[in-house]
């Protein structure tokens, strides 16, 4: 349990949100959280107002580290000091959205990709699952609450230089991710069930016209195929088992 600060990069175009998140994170280490905050590492917050600036910052720091690492351990440590442990980004931003930033960060291709947590004021299941499939560690609804900071902390350890700790934190982060993914999937599945019952007949037409619904069709198509296969099989069994009383009973 170190007092080593967790370095967070906050990306949000709204000055109010940026400040609230920043102060919320700072307050979290200041003993505001009671007993738990006693051993928790403080957050070191850097805030920028656009995805572009965030990428510049991350790119520069990564560049520094690449240059410095081989030369001297001291320089490497200095570069590490500047690094970012976790990115907390807003989803809705002009020019580069949080989703674009997420993809850009994941495309940096470093051995330890920086964890990204996306926050948004809209609770759209599709948006959430899109971010999680693109590699976001978590998805938090705005406005941020104290418990959200705890969630953020869980995801932050994955790229720490100490490899022993990193393993643990990584697992912890993955469970959070899975839980979030499951939570995101449930409303989507409900939606899907509703849709499949309504739209099964219109499948081909809708498939051509609507992109939004189209990725449910793979599943529906598989289901129809499966139902058809079962039907065929039962017909076959029925024919074969004309003499046998056991099977004909079963099929009837």
């Amino acid at each position: 349990m170190g007092a080593e600060a967790v370095r967070v990069l906050v990306v949000d175009d709204s000055p109010v949100d940026r400040r609230v998140v920043e102060l919320l994170l700072r307050a979290h280490c200041g003993g505001g959280g009671g007993a738990a905050a006693g051993e928790a590492a403080p957050f070191h917050v850097t805030a920028v107002d656009s995805g572009k600036k965030a990428m510049e910052l991350l790119g520069r720091r990564r560049g520094d580290r690449d240059h410095l690492t081989p030369s001297s351990p001291a320089a490497a440590a200095a570069a590490n000091d500047q690094a970012i442990d976790i990115v907390l980004t807003d989803y809705c931003m002009p020019e580069m959205t949080g989703y674009d930033l997420l993809k850009a960060i994941k495309a940096l291709g470093s051995p330890n990709p920086i964890p990204v947590v996306v926050m948004s004021s809209e609770n759209e299941p599709q948006r959430i699952s899109r971010c999680l499939t693109a590699g976001a560690e978590d998805f938090i609804l705005k406005p941020l609450k104290m418990n959200d900071v705890q969630r953020l902390r869980k995801c932050s350890g994955a790229t720490r230089p100490k490899s022993a700790v990193a393993g643990d934190d990584d697992r912890c982060c993955n469970t959070a991710k899975k839980a979030a993914a499951a939570a995101a999937a449930t409303p989507e599945q409900q939606q899907q069930q509703q849709r499949s019952s309504h739209l099964a007949g219109l499948a081909m037409v809708m498939n051509a016209s609507s992109f939004e619904v189209s990725h449910y069709f793979q599943l529906i198509f598989k289901l129809i195929l499966l139902a058809y296969a079962v039907l065929c099989l039962s017909q076959l069994l029925h024919r074969w088992s004309n003499g046998s009383s056991l099977l004909s009973l079963w099929c009837a």
């Binding site: 175009d13 709204s14 000055p15 109010v16 949100d17 400040r19 609230v20 102060l23 919320l24 700072r26 307050a27 200041g30 003993g31 505001g32 807003d90 809705c92 002009p94 004021s121 705005k142 406005p143 609450k145 104290m146």
Partner: protein, 147 residues
């Protein structure tokens, strides 16, 4: 003595703001965070909100005056205002922003203009109250020379 009177005045003002539905529990959360590390937390965020809100409302009326209104642009400004008001817990402004966005999606200029008037009234009403609140806080702080 004066400080106690001012404090009760401040409490009455803030309670009234909650009772009128101007603020929600997000603001309460900000208030709770204030005493821990950052003493000027609320006033700082409130000031930012007032400046940002004013800027967005000016921008919105400018956008809606144009002959060809770019509703996507208007929508993104309303989204910003909604985000800011949600972050400070300005419930009423936030809810009006939600209505506003519906008119943007309907591409209804009249609807947008009407909601802009409503948002403006609500925002300036809230801003006046926030300013009164900050003034009272300053006066209270002035009563305690070393705080």
């Amino acid at each position: 003595m004066a400080a106690a009177a001012l404090t009760s005045q401040l409490n009455a003002l803030v309670n009234n703001m909650f009772a009128m539905g101007l603020l929600d529990d997000q603001f309460q959360q900000l208030q709770m965070l204030q005493d821990s590390t950052a003493p000027d937390f609320v006033s700082e965020v409130v000031t930012l909100f007032c400046d940002d809100g004013e800027r967005i409302i000016c921008e919105l009326s400018r956008q809606l005056e144009k002959p060809n209104v770019d509703f996507d642009r208007v929508d993104s400004y309303v989204h910003q205002l909604k985000g800011s008001s949600a972050s400070v817990g300005a419930q009423k402004v936030k809810n009006t922003c939600i209505q506003f966005r519906e008119f943007c999606q309907q591409r209804s200029r009249d609807g947008c203009l009407k909601t802009l008037d409503l948002v403006r009234t609500e925002f300036y009403d809230l801003r006046n109250k926030f300013q009164a609140m900050l003034q009272l806080e300053q006066q209270i702080q002035a009563c305690y020379p070393k705080h």
